[in-house]
Point group: C2
């Protein structure tokens, strides 16, 4: 059988090496050369064991998808038989239907591509809307979805006394419930109407926040507009403090400053996307998921 | 049957609209939205005829390949039956084997991707080395390769009196011969040893260039180092003038300045890649190629 190998790209060395250690796997770099015209050249190890995973968190996904397209068949050629993608952040999961005829349904297309390359996929809180399971979106043999919700609840309960956990919209309810459960925390969700990439209207829930610490939970922090607007409303409504915990800390451009300026005390995130706010590690959960797969072989 | 449709992205509107006019096709924009996190959303026309082509020149290819991956199945869903890729510049054609075990053979992988998306491919002077035909690299039903060589020869003969056409390396010989043929121009090829992405050693051929105008022909101008170095040597050897004609004017970063500083008088290119040096249009040839395909349906 041999030790499994976790392949990674240089910018994710830190997480990948730690994850490999947790799995008793060997971590090996995929060397990447970018030619002056933007073409990629990848060099994988020349010998691989049967059980191989590629670690790649897919924010800013386009070049990374080409990297996976090039790496996956090469890994198989070098010996991989069970090939897993560990993508803590999975891209292109939002567009799951054509809202107007002629729109590319990117979830289905990218999902099919990934399923053609990998036998298994491990990811954390993918942003699925109208599909209920990841394997509908990415039809791989094994699709393992981890949730950061429980760990975020644990973390929240340690940071503030008797906080209210608040989700940004009704879709987040199930997830906020899960985060609140273990420590019996109060929770609620706001209402969000998106009027553009960077414009949102937020309505707070009816629950009183007067004098209470509120912790906003979100799966993705991107432009930061939703978090900033919700924070302003919560502080106006008398919240003692507002903190933020997100699974995927994209924080594009000046998003983090925007959130801080709105009055947020602390911003914490999981390490699904490498970011200074990382405070909660999903690596042990990912290690467990990969171990459960490799035992199947 | 209905008029065929040529789909294009905004940055290539000019060429696509002209090409469509030459084919009596309708040119229609693929609307592209880039989300803050780099994900793409594409909107195609909601109804398409049977014969559809997508125009996309694939320099800086990674995002563009994802665009094609999203657009092609959507075009089929909207009615396309014969789907052609018109890529005047085709990417990833250079790595056709693994020089070291574990290298991704990108030509084969990208070729297979494109063949899974399109029925036909029209391109100009792809940079193939060890494979003799494009359909080995991109196994589509119809792979049509156009060459700019003859048009470059015509253009050269008009610009300078009795010029010498010179190719950068021995691989270019067949192509330089073709450019020289119609006007019985003198020709020769240099020798090139590449020692890095941006470093080359050049040896001039034995033919005297004393007092003669020399026109360097190349398929791709990327860093400009080969052209610059060859120009210096030619001027030292007494060439009257040195001009450059290239098929694919990539000219990365300061490449064009580098070439000019080396003493090149004029830089001309075909319109395969949109560039200020464009002087020779490949659009009529591409129109002819697409017409020949659509007649087959």
């Amino acid at each position: 059988m041999g030790k499994p190998t976790l392949l990674y790209f240089s910018e994710e060395a830190h997480q990948a090496i730690e994850l490999a250690a947790l799995c008793n796997a060997s971590a090996q770099l995929i060397e990447r050369h970018v030619f002056p015209d933007g073409e990629l050249k990848l060099q994988l190890p020349s010998q691989l064991p049967e059980r191989v995973a590629i670690f790649h968190s897919l924010h800013h996904p386009n070049q990374k998808l080409i990297e996976l397209l090039l790496a996956a068949p090469t890994a198989r050629k070098m010996g991989a038989r069970q090939l897993t993608l560990i993508a803590p952040y999975l891209a292109y999961m939002r567009q799951d239907m054509a809202f107007f005829p002629g729109e590319a349904v990117s979830q289905q297309i990218i999902g099919k591509l990934l399923a053609s390359l990998f036998d298994a996929l491990i990811t954390v809180d993918p942003h699925l809307h109208r599909v209920s399971s990841l394997s509908q979106a990415v039809p791989v043999k094994n699709a393992l979805v981890l949730s950061a919700a429980t760990l975020m609840g644990d973390f929240a309960a340690k940071q503030r006394a008797n906080p209210i956990l608040m989700g940004p919209d009704e879709e987040s309810l199930q997830w906020v419930v899960q985060a609140a459960a273990r420590h019996h925390l109060d929770y609620a969700v706001a209402k969000k109407v998106r009027t553009g990439d960077r414009e949102v209207e937020v309505t707070l829930p009816s629950m009183s926040v007067q004098g209470r610490p509120v912790i906003l939970l979100d799966d993705i922090a991107s432009s930061g507009h939703t978090l900033a607007r919700t924070t302003e409303l919560l502080l106006q409504a008398g919240a003692q403090t507002v903190d933020v915990i997100v699974t995927h800390a994209l924080f594009m451009g000046s998003a983090l400053e925007l959130v801080k300026r709105a009055g947020v005390s602390e911003v914490w995130s999981t390490d699904c996307i490498d970011h200074p706010s990382n405070a909660i590690s999903m690596l042990p959960a990912m290690a467990g998921a990969w171990n459960s797969l490799t035992e199947e072989l």
